[in-house]
């Protein structure tokens, strides 16, 4: 299960990153296959976001390499898409114009970019909200727009850094199911950071557990079955066992 198949889109090999002469993450090896949902599960502040910054090319690691489609992209930006816990929408732009930001940066003319975003609105269940400004949207809706913007950049590899961490528990459950529905439609591959075990089990095909100081990958777990809803998942005996196994490792 550790092998990278031929449809592997992202590979991180032996990445080490230090901060103030101290290693935060050490010798990280992970990979992501096409269409896969992989979570990186670990306690807050253990260096998960640092790993994402390396993959996104915002940081150049002390050691190790990042490959996208077998091409080395270590320290290169503009390759993978990134979504944060904060929605980071531009308050002066409406939903459509927030969505076109990555296309604009790539140099696509505004008009053409708007048309592209408009065709995606219905997929994201935002068809009535295109002209609204972020201030008029709820927290969950803002994250939908943020996800739309993320996929407009690239759906091949999406880094989602605790995207639902700032939402209340009920909205959060809804957003998790929403995310899976969207992914089924657009067929993207996701690397997902979370510190929530249930969230990781519910969403993922595979989970990397990261912990320690400096942080490293402790274990890789394949989630046996994907369940239709989170309620079913909570009551399934097999997954309860998995949950307690994971808890023991953290």
């Amino acid at each position: 299960m550790n092998t990278c198949h031929n449809k592997c889109v992202l590979k991180v090999v032996g990445v080490t990153q230090e901060y103030n002469h101290k290693n935060i993450i050490e010798d990280i090896h992970i990979h992501l296959n096409q269409g896969e949902f992989v979570s990186i599960l670990g306690p807050s502040g253990c260096g998960k976001s640092t790993l994402f910054n390396v993959i996104a090319g915002l940081l150049t690691p002390e050691a190790g390499k990042v490959f996208v489609n077998d091409k080395e992209v270590t320290g290169e930006t503009g390759v993978v898409s990134y979504m944060y816990q904060k929605d980071l929408l531009l308050p002066w732009r409406n939903v459509i114009d927030n969505g076109i930001l990555p296309l604009e940066i790539r140099g696509i003319p505004k008009k053409e970019a708007r048309e592209k975003v408009k065709t995606m609105l219905s997929v994201f269940q935002l068809e009535d909200d295109g002209e609204k400004y972020p201030i008029q949207l709820s927290g969950g809706m803002k994250q939908r727009v943020s996800l739309l913007r993320t996929t407009m950049f690239s759906k091949e590899i999406m880094l989602l850094d605790e995207p639902f961490g700032g939402l209340d528990a009920i909205t959060r459950l809804k957003m998790q199911e929403y995310l899976l529905t969207i992914l089924k439609k657009i067929k993207g591959s996701v690397l997902f950071i979370t510190h929530d075990i249930d969230e990781a089990i519910f969403l993922s095909d595979r989970i990397y557990i990261i912990n320690g100081s400096p942080a490293h990958i402790i274990e890789e777990i394949v989630v046996p079955v994907k369940h239709a809803s989170s309620e079913e998942m909570m009551t399934s005996g097999e997954l309860r066992q998995l949950r307690s196994d994971i808890l023991k490792r953290l």
């Binding site: 996104a56 930006t77 390759v79 990134y82 980071l88 002066w92 950049f153």
Partner: protein, 257 residues
């Protein structure tokens, strides 16, 4: 309910100002203060109307100096703030100098400017630039630097260039700050022009007030003050109006709150 409260909020200052004006009128008319020491509000309005065309001519000169100076200050501030934002070294070097420059009383600088640039229009505009430059620059710099670091990282991860980050993220984020500075600067601009004129010149409200004062025509001095106040307030609300037109999302925010 809220509508009535809004009307009430607007009425309170109007009633207060009217009360002061009535009191002022009474104090002068009852002879508590001599009319040549302090003219009453109606005296002032009458003097303004009697000398309308004269005062308007001087107002136009002052307004022109104020606007030219304000525009020059905006232009300089934009350049200065962009350079300071892009190069930290420049900011570290210049920022303290900017603050120090503001502690020098403008009334002391103005006569020197007259010595250097003569009694024409140039030294007046220069004073306006001096007083307007600081609030705009300081606010703009603060706006540019207070952009969320994660937002900048996000667009960097999309491969944005430095100039794209500035044009699409930093500058629009800083616009509300820019307008706060601009509103302050606009109200200063007329005052700055008047200070410049006060030290001598051919025309302008400052010159007019100086002449009126020498003639002990205090009603005309007050009439000129009234005009300065009205023009400054109009500038303030004019800029607030431009701000609302340029930033519709701010209006939405106010409506929601």
């Amino acid at each position: 309910m809220r509508k009535y409260q809004n009307i009430g909020d607007k009425l309170i200052p109007i009633i207060f100002i009217l009360a002061i004006l009535v009191l002022w009128e009474l104090v002068v008319n009852l002879g508590v203060v001599q009319r040549y020491i302090l003219p009453s509000p109606t005296d002032i309005v009458n003097a303004l109307l009697a000398n309308w065309s004269d005062i308007m001519m001087h107002t136009w000169v002052t307004f022109f100096e104020g606007m030219t100076g304000l525009l020059a200050a905006v232009f300089l501030s934009l350049i200065m703030a962009i350079v300071m934002d892009q190069f930290t070294v420049v900011k570290k070097a210049i920022y303290p100098v900017l603050v120090i420059s503001q502690t020098v009383p403008i009334i002391v600088i103005a006569p020197l400017l007259a010595m250097w640039f003569g009694f024409g229009i140039a030294p007046k505009i220069f004073v306006v630039v001096l007083v307007c430059f600081f609030p705009i620059t300081v606010n703009l710099i603060e706006g540019l630097q207070s952009v969320d670091g994660e937002l900048i990282n996000l667009v960097r991860s999309m491969g944005a260039t430095k100039s794209q980050i500035f044009a699409k993220i930093k500058f629009p984020s800083a616009l509300p700050y820019f307008f706060s500075g601009l509103k302050i600067a606009a109200t200063y601009s007329i005052m700055g022009a008047v200070i410049g004129e006060w030290l001598g010149g051919k025309a302008g409200l400052g010159v007019y007030m100086l002449r009126a004062r020498h003639a002990f025509a205090l009603d005309l001095v007050f009439a000129a003050i009234l005009v300065i106040v009205i023009v400054s307030i109009m500038l303030f609300y004019g800029i607030a109006g431009i701000q609302r037109a340029l930033m519709p999302w701010k209006k939405l925010k106010e409506e929601l709150e």
